[in-house]
Symmetry: C2
DNA sequence: CCTACCGATCGGTAGG
DNA sequence: CCTACCGATCGGTAGG
């Protein structure tokens, strides 16, 4: 029996990659597989196949399937949350900031459809304890929207009759389902959808006075102009 | 070896039920299991266990798992669609009908949380061909909302600037995610949520004139009164 | 990162 | 509707 050189290589003969690079690849591919198969039906076998690795080798990178999947969700969630929190702290009155938050939330969703879908559909499937760890004990995401609405209400920009919690859930419902239907055709489709959905959301809660400033009474100015 | 009486009974000794009754039970239990485990992770074993039947016996009622699951989705979808279509054809101007459609859609969702969740999350997992068969080639559900918005726009009740398709998707996004957060506490919570979400949606698209009629300028009438 | 496994469970079938 | 199965596949482990 001739001695065989023992070189680490896989079935397809491709090179071994640095651990960090491979780890990113595993996360990306896992996200895609979860997106296509659904959170519960995604298998390690399919992830391994796409990377060109044996299924058992994946355990070099994480201790269990659940660990990997949680990491996928945590990354998707935290990225979105950071964007929304940053937008909420930019200058402007509370209603302008709310509109900006919605726009950036939607635009980010449109530009990260796979991650958005996985985040929406996966987090609901997590055991309660882990879900709390990811979304935060205080529902950090919702709180960004809700507190802006409360602020805007105090400033007289949002109708006193509006229920901040319900308005938040309505806005998050409409924006968090964008991934289900959005199909990018031109490069600025994402921006257009973001602007339009934010506009609808703001109109739903704004006071009549704010709305009058938004739609000048059809005489003095350019009718196409929209207030930023 | 003593002769044993051959009587059809299962492990738990419970009685055999009429076929129709059992079929309804299978559908109901399947809906619940899909709700709890997710569409892809729901198993025939768990459905059989809850009914108190052997897994193989389920095949007396349907030819494959997919057939059963499709039937679950079709039933959930068609029930909701019927409610919405009926509401769309009641008397009233297009905007009033749109508001009524949204209210009834939301109220039905609140009163059928499990079916709503299964419908929302399951249909997306179906092979394209079967999905088209269930939701209809023309997206019947969306079309109810969209055509009312177009009608209301022609009647001058909805802003000319509103995009009927996007407004529809926004409304369906906010209403179709109600099952994720709604927790009934008092018997009329469903009605309250339905009224409020419909109000937000109508305000988002209505013309300034319609909105003025909705919020009288804080002098002549009872300020708590809402226009139906 | 691979080879070689394992126990558990899946949807489904044959035959009654 | 049950008994008795089957092939396929699942997540995961031992050992290198």
């Amino acid at each position: 029996m001739p001695a065989r050189t023992v070189v680490p290589r896989n079935v397809t003969g491709t090179q071994r990659k640095p651990r960090n690079e491979r780890w990113s690849e595993v996360l990306t591919v896992a996200t895609e597989v979860i997106y296509e198969r659904g959170y519960e039906a995604a298998t390690l076998q399919e992830i391994a196949d796409r990377i060109g690795m044996m299924k058992a080798s994946l355990y070099y990178y994480f201790p269990s399937k659940e660990t990997l999947f949680i990491e996928v969700l945590r990354q998707a969630h935290d990225t979105g949350l950071a964007i929304v929190q940053r937008a909420a702290n930019e200058p402007g009155d509370p209603l302008q900031r709310l509109e900006s938050v919605i726009r950036q939330h939607v635009e980010h969703t449109c530009n990260n459809l796979v991650a958005a879908a996985v985040c929406q559909e996966g987090i609901r499937r997590l055991p309660e304890e882990i879900r709390r760890d990811i979304v935060g004990g205080d529902h950090a995401y919702q709180e960004v929207f809700r507190s802006l609405i409360v602020e805007a209400q105090s400033a007289g920009l949002v109708r006193p009759g509006a229920n901040p919690r319900l308005a938040t859930l309505s806005i998050l419902g409409s924006t968090n389902t964008v991934y289900r239907w959005f199909v990018p055709r031109t490069p600025d489709d994402a921006r257009l959808v973001a602007v339009e959905l934010a506009d609808l959301a703001i109109r739903a809660v704004a006071t009549p006075e704010v709305l009058l400033r938004r739609d000048p009474p059809a005489s003095s100015e350019d009718p196409d102009q929209q207030i930023a």
